[in-house]
Amino acid sequence: MMNEPPPTAVPQYADFDFELDNNAQRLPLVLCLDNSRSMEGRPVQALNEALREWTRELHDDVSLSYSVEVAVITFGDQSVTAYRGAEPLHPGMNLSPFVPAHAFTPPTLAANGVTLMTEAVELAMHIVAARKTELRKLGLQYYRPQICLVTDGLPTDGTGHYTTTWQRIVPVLAEEQRARRFRLYAIGVGGITDRGQAVLRAFAPTYNAQLQGFPFRELLQMMSASAAAEQKGEGEEAFEKIFHQFRTQRPAWEA
C-alpha cells in the first residue's frame, strides 16, 4: 500500500512550499497508539488532550519543530489507520503520513474495536523505512527514528481474540533495533496485564514500561526529550536515564 515513495511536496520549486528552505537533518517519530474499546472514555480523552498539548509545545520548540517529523498510527476500530496530521489516510492514497512537527496537527481519536497491534507495529516499521528511502533521495539526512507503541491490552485478531501473531515480529524487531534502525519504546498503560506487558518486553527489551493510569503527557514529553538527546548525539546512557526517569514517574531531581 505504501511501496511507492509518496510525494511529500509539490514536485517543482514553489515559494509556498514551506519546506523548501529546510535542509535540517530530519527525525522521524511514529506514535503507534492503541484506540481499541478498552481505551474508551477517560483514557482516550486524556490521550487527545495530551496530543494537543504536546503539539503546542512542539510548535514552540525552535530546535525540534523543523527537524522532527510526526506520523500517527492507530490500532482499534477494526483496523490499523495511518494519519497524516489530523487526516486519516486511506489505503492506496500513496501519501506519506509524516508531517513536519511545526505543521503537525493531531487527530482526535475515538476508541472502539479490536487490538491489531502486530499489524500496527509492522506498518510503523514500513513507513519508517519508506520515509528513509524518500529522504535519502531528497538528499536529506536523518537521525535515528523513534517509534512509540502505547497499549493497554493484548494483541488480538480482527475478531477480538488473542493471537500469537505478534511472535512473528519479535526477531524482526530485535534485528532492526540491533542495527540501530530505530529506537522502539513500548509502553503499557492503564490496567495492562502481566501477559500484555510480556509482549511489550519482547518487542522492546530496553525501552519498555508498565505504568499506572494514563500518563500520556509525560510519555509525549519523554519522546521530545529523547528526540532532543538524539539531536545532540547523546550516547545510549542518556536515553536510558531519560527513560528511567519517565518510567519511575518521579521529578527529575528525585531520580
Binding site: 520549486y13 514551506f18 523543523y66 535519502r136 538528499g139 538527546a229 548525539g233
Partner: protein, 412 residues
C-alpha cells in the same frame, strides 16, 4: 504558575523543590523548562530573571570544585560595553544546594524566548520571520557570525574552550548579540591549582572528527564548530556537511559526513544535495576561502582550520561592504555579487528566503499538505507591471548566474 508558600520538602504535593542559592532559600517551579539526559533547567518562583540547573545524577566533587572556581572568575570581564548587549556567557551566579547542604547544580541568568532565541531559529525562513520580524536579513546573519567569532576569539584569548558549541546552546537577541548558555561544560585550567576541567559534552553535528573519536575539546575543535556555525549563518541555515553520499543505501547523517570529510562546499560531486540548497558562492571570496579550508583540509587536520581570529578578520572586512537590494525588503548580500542573489533565487522559481511567501494557489485535488500557520489573503490577479518586474528579475538572474560562473571559474 503562581508563587506558593513553603510546604516543606514535600514534592509530591505538586510544589516545586526548595533549594538554597548560596544559602538563600528559593522555590523552583514544579516543571523544568528543559530537561536533557544530564540536567534539567528550572524557573525560580518569584524571580523571573534567573534559572537553576540541577544535575540529574548527584554531581561529583570535581564538578563542585569547577563551579566554585567559576564563581570566582569573571571571563570576558570588561565586556559588554554597550548596555543594550546581553552578557556573552550565561556564567554561573550561585551554587544550588539542598536544604541539607548537598551540591545539586547552579543558578544563572535566564536567557529565554522571546528575547533570546536559539541560533537554530535563524536557519529557516518561517522561524526567522516569526522570531526576528524586521531584522533578519543577510547583513544581520553576517553580524551574528561576527559576534560569534568575536566571543570565541575572546574566550580562546582567556584560555577558555567552549567545548560543546552548537546552534542550540547559543542564543541570539533582536540586535544580533549572542550568549553562550552551557557554561558549566567550558574547558579551562585553574590558574592557581593548575587543575584542569575538561569539557565532557559535545554535539555531534558540530563535532570535529577528533572529538567524535573521543578526543578532548580544544581551541581547534571550537574552530571547527565555529566554522560550521558561521557557514550556516552565511548560507542561511544550510549545514556544510548536509547531503547524502551518492548511491547510499545506508542511514546518512551529518556526523558521518564530518567523519568521512564529505562537504559539498569543497566536494559537491560527492553528495546528493537537498533541493533548494544555497550556492556556497554567496559567501564573499575571503570567507569562502576560509570555509573551504575548514571543510576541506581542516576537517582531518586541526591545524589547518581557520581560527576564530581568522574568521573575525574576514567577517570584519565584509561587514561594511554589505549591499542592499532595493527591489525587495530584507534583501542584502555581499559586495562581490553584482546582483541580488535572493531576488535571483526567487525569480528562478525558488523561494524568497527573507520574505513571506506569496498567496497560495488554489488547493490541488486530494488532501493538501497542511497550510502554513498564517494563511495569506486571497491572490490578486497579476498585472502588467508585475510581468515587467518579472522580466527585470529574470535579467538579474541571468546576470547573477553569469557572475557566479565567473567567480567559480576564478576560484577553480
Amino acid at each position: 504558575m503562581s508563587a506558593r508558600g513553603s510546604t516543606g520538602t514535600s514534592a509530591r504535593a505538586g510544589t516545586g523543590r526548595r533549594v538554597l542559592l548560596d544559602g538563600r532559600p528559593v522555590t523552583l517551579a514544579e516543571r523544568p523548562l528543559k530537561g536533557g539526559g544530564e540536567a534539567s533547567v528550572y524557573p525560580v518562583e518569584g524571580e523571573p530573571g534567573i534559572v537553576v540547573k540541577l544535575y540529574r545524577e548527584r554531581p561529583g566533587p570535581e564538578q563542585e570544585r569547577r563551579l566554585t572556581r567559576m564563581l570566582a572568575m569573571s571571563p570576558l570581564g570588561d565586556r559588554p560595553v554597550d548596555s543594550n548587549q546581553a552578557p556573552e556567557l550565561a556564567w554561573p551566579t550561585a551554587l544550588a544546594r539542598s536544604p541539607e547542604g548537598v551540591f545539586l547544580g547552579y543558578a544563572m541568568r535566564r536567557f529565554g524566548e522571546p528575547q533570546h532565541v536559539q541560533l537554530v531559529g535563524l536557519f529557516t525562513r518561517s522561524q526567522r520571520l516569526r522570531l526576528f520580524p524586521e531584522r533578519a536579513d543577510w547583513r544581520f546573519l553576517l553580524g551574528v557570525a561576527w559576534n560569534l567569532a568575536f566571543m570565541t576569539a575572546r574566550m580562546h584569548h582567556e584560555g577558555l574552550v567552549v567545548g560543546d558549541f552548537s546552534s542550540s546552546n547559543v542564543v541570539v537577541d533582536r540586535n544580533g548579540f549572542v550568549t553562550f548558555l552551557d557554561c558549566d561544560s567550558i574547558a579551562f585550567t585553574d590558574r592557581e591549582t593548575r587543575e584542569s576541567f575538561p569539557c565532557l559534552m559535545h554535539t555531534t553535528d558540530y563535532s570535529a572528527p577528533e572529538r567524535q573519536a573521543g578526543g578532548p575539546a580544544s581551541t581547534e575543535s571550537d574552530d571547527f564548530a565555529l566554522s560550521v556555525l558561521v557557514y550556516q549563518l552565511l548560507a542561511v541555515g544550510n549545514h556544510p556537511f548536509g547531503g547524502v553520499p551518492h548511491d547510499s543505501q545506508e542511514d546518512s547523517t551529518v556526523k558521518d559526513n564530518i567523519a568521512a570529510s564529505i562537504s559539498y562546499v569543497v566536494r559537491p560531486e560527492k553528495v546528493v544535495v537537498p533541493r533548494g540548497i544555497i550556492d556556497p558562492t554567496v559567501l564573499p571570496p575571503g570567507l569562502l576561502t576560509l570555509a573551504r579550508r575548514a571543510f576541506g583540509p581542516g576537517v582531518l587536520d586541526p591545524k589547518a582550520r581557520p581560527s576564530a581570529q581568522d574568521w573575525l578578520r574576514a567577517l570584519d572586512e565584509e561587514r561594511g561592504r554589505v549591499r542592499g537590494c532595493g527591489a525587495r525588503p530584507r534583501h542584502s548580500y555581499g559586495s562581490h555579487l553584482t546582483g541580488c542573489p535572493w531576488c535571483a533565487r526567487a525569480a528562478a522559481g525558488g523561494q524568497d528566503l527573507f520574505n513571506p511567501p506569496p498567496p497560495r494557489p488554489p488547493a490541488p485535488s486530494a488532501p493538501a499538505p497542511p497550510p502554513p500557520r498564517q494563511a495569506p489573503a486571497a491572490a490578486p490577479a497579476p498585472s502588467g507591471s508585475d510581468s515587467r518586474k518579472l522580466l527585470l528579475v529574470l535579467a538579474v538572474v541571468i546576470a547573477v548566474i553569469l557572475l557566479v560562473t565567473v567567480v567559480a571559474a576564478m576560484e577553480g
